[in-house]
């Protein structure tokens, strides 16, 4: 019997010829990710268990991204502790405050390769599936075990495959596709399972789009959200780390729990409505709702491709008065590229505030929180009650085009209605 992508990844990590869904394996971890919310705690716990060194410091990446720049003396002290731990543990891959969001940095700086097994103390570790790597979130105790031994147990997941056909309409993006899937199948549709994205339409999905989709696979409960590695992956790797990769995908005769065929051609822009990621509808149904804030950023949609779309919408125009538009590049490199290409100037001319690379207001750490009764639309991935400040605020999620169009209009707006003045 052939293997799914998830099975191939776990078989390789477990040093086995073959594994199949339902089995338990003890697998070697290729990469472990820690960020500033949990890193200090994990290192402290290692000490408490009596482990004085991590099994392989070259397989650990530590990123300070959630609370940047430090919003309080406590956060600053936390960062200080992390820097000390990192130096003592001999971890070279350390990205300090201002470099960017972990899930942007790992692919961008060449840490992720197809077939790797990657764990992180963050649920959106699924993002690395965009490059054909098995990325998944774990808790701090599991991370302590993984760092101490270099291994961790896994149940080989069943896989649900999504075959994508057709072409996206203008101003409709892969963010709309993944929101649509969450709405149609539900927040626990892929619970304990791997999602595999394939079919002819993914051939036209660039790496940025794939990262968006894999990032949000966890919003459907998935353990992994996987794309096969192909020419697009190969080209991305050459651009971000030097060495290309061979194709890496599932076997032709792999066994799937379900296969869903999705036609993209007629899809309108989608929005997730308060307060669940799977409460999704067409922008057409909510158009006109007044907004106070628009947010373009996060590990879901803070890349240069996303900022470019926003600039295309906003070029030569002004955002509506009474609306705050926050732009948070996902990394310093994204910021640099936006600066060099003129994208940043376009956004600032239109009235955007640009925040330093990092998580920004995505999880309510600081920098752009909401007051009671306020409404925000953002390009991020979660709209739970209280996620961005007040528990009485409303969060809508949409694509960069939809968010930019809404900032322009002052209310939720359909980007397809824009007259575009492309420079």
């Amino acid at each position: 019997m052939g293997m799914t992508l998830a099975e191939r990844i776990l078989a390789k990590a477990a040093g086995r010829q073959e594994v199949s869904a339902g089995e338990f394996v003890v697998a070697d971890i290729d990469l472990a990710l820690l960020h500033d919310i949990f890193a200090a705690q994990v290192f402290d716990m290692l000490g408490e268990v009596g482990v004085d060194r991590v099994s392989d410091p070259d397989k650990v990446v530590v990123v300070i991204d959630h609370l940047v720049p430090a919003p309080s003396a406590e956060a600053a002290a936390l960062h200080q502790r992390i820097r000390k731990h990192v130096a003592r543990a001999g971890i070279k891959a350390f990205y300090d405050a201002g470099e960017g969001i972990c899930h942007q940095l790992l692919p961008e700086r060449g840490h992720v390769r197809p077939g790797m097994l990657i764990v992180g103390t963050d649920s959106h570790t699924t993002t690395y599936g965009a490059l054909g790597a098995g990325g998944t979130g774990i808790g701090t105790s599991d991370m302590v075990y993984a760092l101490a031994t270099g291994r961790l147990w896994f149940r080989v997941p069943e896989t649900v495959r999504f075959e994508m056909f057709g072409e996206l309409a203008p101003w409709v993006s892969w963010k709309d596709v993944i929101l649509h899937l969450a709405g149609r199948f539900g927040a626990d549709a892929a619970q304990y399972r791997a999602m595999e994205f394939g079919g002819p339409a993914v051939k036209s999905a660039d790496m940025s789009s794939r990262l968006t989709v894999a990032n949000m696979a966890v919003e459907m409960g998935a353990k992994f959200g996987l794309f096969a590695a192909d020419e697009i992956t190969d080209a991305y790797l050459r651009d971000h780390g030097g060495v290309g990769a061979e194709p890496f995908g599932p076997d032709q005769d792999a066994d799937y729990e379900a296969v869903h065929e999705i036609l993209l051609s007629a899809l309108p822009p989608q929005v997730a409505m308060p307060h669940e990621v799977d409460r999704v509808g067409s922008i057409v149904d909510v158009e006109g709702l007044r907004i106070d804030q628009a947010f373009i950023g996060s590990c879901t949609n803070g890349r240069i491709e996303d900022l470019r779309v926003a600039a295309d919408v906003l070029r030569g125009k002004q955002i509506a008065s009474g609306v705050r538009l926050l732009v948070v590049p996902a990394s310093r490199r994204v910021l640099q590229e936006a600066l060099d290409s003129g994208v940043l100037a376009t956004l600032v001319d239109a009235g955007a505030s640009v925040l330093p690379p990092g998580c920004g207001p995505c999880f309510g750490g600081h920098g752009g929180l909401l007051a009671p009764g306020e409404r925000c639309i953002g390009t991020h991935n979660r709209n739970f009650v209280g996620r961005m400040g007040s528990t009485d605020a409303e969060i809508y999620l949409g694509s960069p085009a939809t968010v930019a169009a809404s900032a322009l209009a002052g209310h939720l707006a359909d980007p397809r209605h824009l007259e575009v003045t492309n420079a």
């Binding site: 716990m45 649920s123 774990i138 105790s141 599991d142 149940r155 409960g221 209280g386």
Partner: protein, 166 residues
């Protein structure tokens, strides 16, 4: 150290109980003695004060969905919850429960056959679940030997200590 079989009093909860409800963000950095007082207060305000050692949570779908925060599990353990049986769990919550030594069982149809205050019997190794009052019996997913081993050791860090000869 949890046993493979136990009996307890039931607290019922519906679908999609998330980690924010189990470990409210505003008490995130407080010690567990403080955190445990606020467990599920947005859903059932009397739970944290009235739950007793050995009680069992019976829940609907997607229990523990949301973030990777381990305090969601830690808080339940601190309150004495012996086991959680649910239609399904958030994946990371389930991992964390095993990692911290809190028994969890997936059992389709469980929410419909238990009310608050019922007595439940759970056998982790076979997945057999009984409502002592009504006599109805369900078959949940038996926990695989690998997970049972970690639970019996008292969690993944206990396993680690043992492996290191500590």
């Amino acid at each position: 150290m949890p046993e493979d079989r136990f009996a307890g009093r039931v607290w019922g909860f519906d679908d999609d109980i998330n980690t924010d409800a189990l470990s409210p963000g505003q008490y995130a950095v407080d010690p567990v003695e403080v955190r445990k007082l606020h467990v599920l207060e947005s859903v059932n305000p009397s739970f944290a004060s009235e739950v007793a050692q050995g009680d069992v949570i019976v829940a609907g779908r997607n229990f523990g969905c949301g973030s990777s925060r381990e305090t969601a599990v830690e808080n339940l353990k601190a309150l004495g919850v012996a086991c959680v049986v649910a239609e399904s769990f958030g994946r990371i919550f389930m991992r964390n429960a095993i990692a911290l030594g809190l028994p969890v069982v997936v059992c389709a149809g469980i929410r419909g056959v238990f009310e608050d205050g019922d007595r439940i019997e759970v056998d982790l190794a076979t997945g057999r679940i009984v409502n002592v009052g009504s006599g109805s019996e369900l078959r949940g997913d038996a926990l695989p030997a690998e997970m049972l081993e970690i639970l019996e050791a008292g969690g993944i860090l206990a396993v680690l200590r043992k492996q290191r000869g500590g």
